[in-house]
C-alpha cells in the first residue's frame, strides 16, 4: 500500500458523515425515519442490521445517488451529492457493478480514466496494479469479468472503489459470499486503508461477527438507528458477550418499548419489524 496519500489533516476536521433528521422516502414507504448520527473520520464504522432495514438506502444517500432525501446530510464537510465529492468517495454497490464483457484490467482502466483523466498513463497503470494487488486478483487481470465467480466479481467492484485516493469508502456488503480466508484478508486491507492513509470506511453487513472488527457500529433496524457506539461499549451496556447478542437485546428492548407506547397502533411497521427480527436471527449465525 505504497502510494496512499494521507488525508491532509488540516482540511477535514468535520466528521466524515453528519446526519440530522435524515429522512428518505421511496414510493409510498418511508425507508429512513429522521436519523441523527455522525461517522468519525479515519475509522471503520460498521453499518449493521437485517436485510431490508435501510442500510443500502442510507449508503446511497451518502454517496448522493438516492432521490427524495430530506434533512441534513453532510459528507466530508459538503452536502451529500455535491459534485466535488465524486472524486473523494469510493462506493461499492451491493451487486457488483462492473462490465461483464470487459476484462478486469479493462474495467479498472476505464474507471481510472473517468476518475482522473489528467493523470499520466503510467500513473494510472500503477494505480490499477495496486488495486489489483489489494483485492488479490493480479493473476486474473486479463479474464473477462463475466467469467469470474461471484466473489471475484465483487472484488473487482471493490477494486474500482479503491482507485485513486478516496477519503471515504462506502462499501455495501463487500464481504458477502466470500470465503473466510478472503474475508479476513479484506478486513486486514480495510484496517490498513484506515490506518495508513486516514481514510474513513463505512461498511455494511448483516453478518454480526464482522461487527467485532469495526471501530464503531451503527446498528439499524426498520429504518431507525438502534445504537451508535463502539462494539465494546455496546456489549458492556447490554451486559452481553457478543455484538449479536447486544443487537438482539436492543431489538427486544425496542419492540417492548414500542408495545408499551401504543398497543392500538398496529401499523404495518410492527408486522414488518417482527419479520425482519426473525430474519436477523437467521442471518446472524
Amino acid at each position: 500500500m505504497m502510494n496512499y496519500v494521507a488525508d491532509p489533516p488540516g482540511t477535514g476536521r468535520e466528521p466524515a458523515v453528519h446526519a440530522e433528521n435524515l429522512t428518505v422516502v421511496r414510493g409510498p414507504r418511508t425507508v429512513l425515519h429522521s436519523l441523527d448520527f455522525t461517522v468519525p473520520r479515519g475509522q471503520i464504522t460498521g453499518l449493521l442490521g437485517p436485510s431490508g432495514c435501510g442500510k443500502s438506502t442510507l449508503m446511497r444517500s451518502i454517496v448522493g445517488t438516492q432521490a427524495k432525501v430530506t434533512g441534513t446530510l453532510d459528507v466530508l464537510g459538503r452536502p451529500a451529492g455535491h459534485p466535488t465529492l465524486r472524486t473523494r468517495i469510493g462506493y461499492v454497490t451491493q451487486a457488483p457493478s462492473v462490465y461483464d464483457d470487459l476484462t478486469i484490467r479493462q474495467n479498472l482502466d476505464y474507471f481510472a480514466a473517468i476518475l482522473d483523466p489528467g493523470r499520466s498513463g503510467t500513473d494510472r497503470r500503477q494505480d490499477v496494479e495496486r488495486v489489483l494487488t489489494d483485492v488479490d486478483l493480479t493473476s486474473h487481470a486479463d479474464s473477462l469479468a463475466g467469467n469470474l465467480s461471484g466473489g471475484q466479481r465483487s472484488r473487482v467492484s471493490l477494486a474500482v472503489a479503491l482507485l485513486g485516493t478516496p477519503e471515504l469508502l462506502v462499501l455495501d456488503e463487500p464481504t458477502v459470499g466470500l470465503d473466510p480466508v478472503l474475508r479476513r484478508d479484506l478486513w486486514t486491507l480495510f484496517h490498513a486503508i484506515a490506518a495508513d492513509r486516514g481514510a474513513t470506511l463505512l461498511i455494511s453487513s448483516h453478518v454480526m461477527d464482522e461487527a467485532e472488527r469495526c471501530h464503531r457500529l451503527l446498528l439499524m433496524r426498520a429504518g431507525e438507528i438502534l445504537a451508535d457506539d463502539t462494539p465494546e461499549a455496546l456489549r458492556t451496556r447490554t451486559a452481553t458477550e457478543t455484538v449479536e447478542a447486544a443487537f438482539l437485546h436492543l431489538v427486544d428492548e425496542a419492540s417492548a418499548a414500542a408495545r408499551d407506547d401504543s398497543r392500538e397502533n398496529s401499523r404495518d411497521d410492527s408486522g414488518d419489524g417482527s419479520r425482519e427480527n426473525s430474519r436477523a436471527k437467521e442471518n446472524t449465525r
Binding site: 444517500s61 441534513t72 451529492g81 455535491h82 462490465y99 480514466a113 473517468i114 474500482v160
Partner: protein
C-alpha cells in the same frame, strides 16, 4: 424539509468543479470502453456489418427485372439500416448500463452526462461509418446502384442516420425496464417512420393527414436526402436542409436522452 436539505435535483444546482460540460478525455475513454466491450462480442460486430450487405444483395436480385426500383429502395435502405441497427444496439447497451449498476457507479463518479452520451455516440458513430461504408461500397460498385451524386454524400447521410438511431435508442432505453421491452420499442418507434418515410410510396401520395405526420418524422428527411443524392449531381439546397434536419433531430434527442440520466434515483 429542514436546514441544508440536499436537493433531490442536486445535479444541476452547483457548478461542478471536476465535471465540465464535456471532457474530451472522459468522452474518449467512454468511447474506447464501449468499443472494447463490442470487441469481446465478435458475433454482434459481424451481424452489424454483414446483415445490411446481405439485405442489399437480396434486394438487388428481388428487383432483378426493374433496376430503377432497386435504385430507389436501395438508396433509401442505405439510410435506414444504420438507423435501425444503431437504435437496437444503443437501446440494449444503455439499458444494460442502467440495470447492471454501472450507470449508477459512473454517475457517482466525476463523469458528466454529456461525456457518457458523447462517448456512446462516438463509438457507435465509428461503427456506423464502417457499416455504411461497406454497404454503400457494395451497393454502388458491385450491385450497380445508380447514383448521380457523390457516394460520399450517401455516406454522410448514413452517418447522420446512425447518430439519430443512437440518440433514439438512448432516449427510449429510459422507458424500458427490461430487454424485452427495449426490443419492443423497435416496432413502436421505427416501424411507423418506416411506413411513412416514403420508402413504399412517395409521401405526396399519402393521405394528407399522414403526409403531415411524415413531415415531422426525422426518417422522412433521411430518405429524402438519400433520394436527392440519387438524382442530382451536386449538393442541392434540399439535401442540405434534409441533412441539417436529421442532424438537428439527432442532437435534440441526444439532449432528451441526457435528461433521462439521473444521478439520483428512487
Amino acid at each position: 424539509m429542514s436546514t441544508t436539505t440536499t436537493a433531490p435535483t442536486g445535479t444541476a444546482a452547483p457548478k461542478p468543479a471536476p465535471t465540465g460540460a464535456l471532457n474530451a478525455a472522459r468522452t474518449l475513454a467512454t468511447a474506447t470502453r464501449v468499443l472494447r466491450q463490442l470487441r469481446h462480442d465478435p458475433r454482434t460486430i459481424a451481424m452489424l456489418i454483414l446483415i445490411p450487405c446481405v439485405m442489399l444483395f437480396l434486394l438487388r436480385y428481388v428487383f432483378d427485372g426493374s433496376p430503377r426500383t432497386f435504385d430507389n429502395i436501395g438508396a433509401s435502405l442505405l439510410g435506414i439500416f444504420p438507423l435501425i441497427t444503431m437504435f437496437l444496439v444503443t437501446s440494449i447497451a444503455t439499458l444494460r448500463e442502467r440495470t447492471s449498476g454501472t450507470l449508477e457507479r459512473l454517475l457517482a463518479m466525476p463523469l458528466g452526462k454529456a461525456d457518457l452520451i458523447a462517448g456512446y455516440a462516438l463509438a457507435f458513430g465509428a461503427l456506423a461509418i464502417v457499416q455504411s461504408a461497406l454497404a454503400t461500397g457494395l451497393a454502388v460498385w458491385f450491385l450497380g446502384l445508380d447514383v448521380t451524386g457523390s457516394p460520399w454524400l450517401l455516406l454522410l447521410v448514413a452517418l447522420l442516420d446512425a447518430l439519430l438511431g443512437t440518440a433514439l435508442g438512448l432516449f427510449v432505453s429510459a422507458f424500458a425496464s427490461s430487454e424485452f421491452q427495449a426490443v419492443q420499442f423497435m416496432p413502436a418507434v421505427i416501424f411507423p417512420q418506416l411506413l411513412l418515410c416514403g420508402l413504399f410510396t412517395p409521401r405526396s401520395n399519402m393521405h394528407p393527414a399522414l403526409e403531415a405526420v411524415s413531415d415531422v418524422l426525422p426518417m422522412s428527411y433521411a430518405v429524402d436526402g438519400m433520394n436527392e443524392v440519387l438524382k442530382h449531381t451536386d449538393m442541392t439546397a434540399t439535401f442540405v436542409r434534409d441533412a441539417l434536419i436529421v442532424a438537428g433531430c439527432a442532437l435534440l434527442v441526444l439532449c432528451l436522452g441526457a435528461a433521462t440520466l439521473r444521478r439520483r434515483t428512487a
